[in-house]
């Protein structure tokens, strides 16, 4: 079980992700719509894991990831993106994302990634 923070500008995606997580016993500690707020909230609630959309208005996922890691090098961030944006995923991995999920995600695949990262042992 992990305490997860969802960052995605689309309410639809947040809803779908939240439902999957809750159904499988995870706790959704925050749902955020943009990068700036994500950083603020992260510091306040320190989730086990962050699911971060890459393409968002204002501060995008990559930038938010960078800033997050600067403040907390141990932050566990999993990037989410729709197919067709390989380059962005690769860049995020270089910055230090722990994993990535491609939309549309299979619930099992997503849960696997979360499990591996949140509970390394």
């Amino acid at each position: 079980m992990a305490r997860v923070m969802i960052v995605d500008d689309a309410e639809f995606m947040r809803m779908v992700i939240r439902d999957i997580l809750l159904k499988h016993g995870h706790e959704v500690v925050a749902e955020i719509g943009d990068g700036e707020e994500a950083i603020q909230t992260y510091l306040e609630i320190k989730p086990d894991l962050v699911l971060m959309d890459i393409i968002m208005p204002d501060m995008d996922g990559k930038e938010a990831l960078q800033k997050l890691l600067l403040m907390d090098p141990d932050a566990k961030v999993v990037m989410c993106s729709s197919l067709g944006q390989q380059a962005l995923i690769t860049e995020s991995m270089k910055i230090g994302a722990m994993g990535f999920i491609v939309k549309p995600f299979e619930p099992d695949g997503m849960l696997d990634v979360i499990k591996k990262i949140a509970e390394p042992n």
């Binding site: 689309a10 639809f12 809803m15 208005p57 993106s81 729709s82 197919l83 999920i101 939309k103 990634v113």
Partner: protein, 616 residues
């Protein structure tokens, strides 16, 4: 995983994304270098695709994917966004709108296991398959406009090498990723499909630019024929989950409650009980709050119907080679949903007229010493008892000469009237039913078709419409609309033994004048205010009651009808009152002119509501 429960949010977010892209396109057409709008558009397309993929809507994914790729090329400066490409993306958005509507209907009907009326579904949407083809042609053909010297042969060879390099890089990146996430199933299929796509790209890169041109032209043809009907449809209001019937019923119940409250109030006053009075004051407060809430639920911002206008104006202007600057002010103003749904078509009509007949082509405007771009502006504002919507343009205006001539020809007015009518009165003739079909008017003066329909619609709502125009410099239409439909603010007046209600939407003001101030012009009674003659209508006379002999002062309610003021002479003003309108359900009353309905007072008595538009 059952996705049907997300259909509602999918729909509203899809609509939001479509709207965002559409708005950005309109901005970009004016300001092609606006990177911020470009990014907004890209993000919206991308988000849309992600949602559709999650829902498993393949067709929408394909279309949004191509759209995203196309926008990405604009964003990266590989392709220039011109008006014909904007047309294509608009076409794509229309197709997407159709697809979204269809899948949503499909899912909703599956969810309730009931039949759903699909007949009205995608009738005016472009064919998604065709649009997809067009987009693919553009995306798959050569990326840049080729410099003349480069031969296609060598170009595609270069391309292949480039692609190979890219592919190699990609594979290396893949490996890195794989080490982190080796068990993710999606990964493989995702990368392969990406590669597939690239390979296809290379194969198709010989396709020449002319193909883009072809598809663009074809598309434009489709567009032009569709502008006529596709954008005149007014979007229905979707966001509320309460059915309109339920809302109406709720409204009616609250209306009954208010009437009942007045009854209780009167009984309380008779009984002179302190306790009852106290209880009543709470009761009154609660019913008022309830009433306000119910009214509020029924309200929707004007944006619900105006949001399709910028695009509509843009398409119309483009089809006619006109340049138009379109401004909407006050789109946050709220109106009752029933009113909102009724005024969509009239507004579309007025706007179309302004584009078709009002605004001149740029050359003509320049010659006239006007700005090259015409301006059409909608301004909505909330007045005390009604909402005012103005539609102004700075086009050629309406020729009253032509209107007089046409009205005379049609036998709507006599020769004498034609000469006597003031400019202001003459121009109101465009609302006359017979005139509207006169093609001469449509061609010469610009306005005409269906203006009587516009007027009828607005008046049926208890509103009014008037027009002002100056030949050569533009026209202005003003719609006055009640804020709510079932509940009016009205002035109660007394005439003889009866009480009547006059809706505030019609009232300009009330005055009292001395008997001696009445003048006679051509046998008609008038009074002079602000150096203008105000014709009087004695309601006693109209209702065939004997004149009140004792009167020293005349109590006059000045009402406005089609831009003209008229003074209703009443016995007394009884004060402002909220009235709940009960429509007549009888043939007899329907044909009786002068009354818009009736209302029930607290004491149970029935009061007729005067309809200013039909009384004179």
């Amino acid at each position: 995983m059952d996705m049907s429960k997300y259909i509602g949010i999918f729909r509203s977010e899809s609509e939001k994304n479509i709207k965002e892209i559409s708005d950005s396109l309109l901005e970009l057409e004016q300001d092609p270098g606006n990177m911020e709008q470009m990014n907004v558009m890209f993000r919206a397309a991308h988000t849309f695709k992600g949602m559709a993929a999650t829902m498993g809507f393949k067709q929408i994914v394909e279309l949004t994917h191509e759209m995203e790729s196309l926008i990405d090329r604009f964003r990266k400066g590989r392709l220039t966004l011109d008006s014909s490409l904007i047309d294509i993306i608009f076409e794509c958005l229309d197709a997407l709108e159709g697809l979204v509507e269809n899948v949503c209907k499909g899912m909703e009907s599956k969810a309730v296991e009931g039949k759903n009326d699909r007949s009205e579904g995608n009738k005016s949407y472009p064919d998604a398959v065709e649009v997809l083809k067009t987009l693919r042609n553009i995306n798959n053909s050569s990326e840049e406009v080729l410099p003349l010297k480069s031969e296609f042969e060598s170009f595609s060879a270069d391309k292949k090498i480039e692609e190979k390099v890219e592919k190699k890089e990609e594979r290396e990146e893949e490996k890195k990723l794989e080490s982190i996430n080796e068990e993710l199933k999606e990964k493989k299929s995702f990368t392969y499909s990406g590669l597939d796509f690239k390979v296809k790209n290379v194969q198709n890169s010989r396709i020449q630019d002319s193909k883009i041109q072809d598809s663009k032209i074809q598309d434009l043809k489709i567009r032009d024929s569709k502008i006529q009907d596709s954008k005149t449809r007014v979007t229905r209001i979707q966001s509320s989950r309460i059915s309109t019937e339920q809302l109406d019923k709720l409204m009616n119940l609250v209306g009954e409650l208010v009437i009942n409250r007045s009854r209780v109030k009167e009984l309380t006053e008779e009984s002179k009980s302190k306790d009852l009075e106290l209880a009543l004051s709470d009761f009154q407060k609660l019913t008022r709050e309830l009433q306000e809430e119910v009214l509020e639920i029924r309200m929707v911002p004007l944006d619900h119907i105006t949001n399709i206008f910028p695009r509509m104006i843009r398409d119309l202007a483009r089809a006619q080679n006109k340049k138009i600057n379109f401004i909407i002010k006050g789109k946050e103003i709220k109106l009752d949903r029933a009113i909102m749904e009724e005024i969509g078509d009239p507004l579309v009509h007025l706007l179309r007229n302004a584009v078709d007949h009002g605004i001149e082509i740029p050359e003509e405007r320049v010659e006239l010493g006007k700005e090259e771009s015409g301006t059409i502006m909608i301004t909505a504002s909330k007045q005390q008892n009604y909402v005012l919507i103005k539609i102004e343009d700075d086009g050629r205006g309406i020729s009253t000469e032509e209107i007089r001539k046409a009205a005379l020809e049609k036998g709507l007015i006599s020769r004498g009237e034609a000469e006597q009518l003031s400019e202001r009165e003459a121009i109101q003739l465009i609302f006359a039913p017979g005139l509207s079909t006169a093609s001469a008017v449509t061609d010469l003066s610009g306005r005409g078709v269906g203006m009587d329909v516009v007027k009828n619609r607005i008046e049926r709502l208890g509103g009014s419409v008037k027009v002002e125009s100056k030949l050569g410099s533009g026209s202005k239409f003003e719609l006055k609309l009640p804020i709510t439909i079932a509940l009016y603010q009205a002035m109660l007046v007394k005439v003889g033994m009866e009480r009547y209600a006059i809706p505030f939407t019609s009232i300009v003001k009330s005055i009292s004048v001395r008997k001696e101030e009445v003048r006679h012009i051509r046998g008609e009674e008038v009074i002079v205010i602000n150096e203008k003659a105000l014709p009087l209508l004695r309601l006693r006379k109209l209702f065939q009651l004997p004149a009140d002999q004792r009167e020293e002062n005349l109590v006059i309610v000045i009402v406005e009808k089609a831009g003209r003021d008229i003074g209703f002479v009443v016995d007394a003003l009884l004060g402002k009152q909220e009235v709940i309108i009960k429509n007549f359900r009888s043939r007899l009353m329907e044909k009786t002119r002068g009354f818009g309905g009736a209302t029930i007072m607290g004491d149970g008595s029935v009061i007729l509501i005067l309809d200013v538009n039909s009384i004179i």
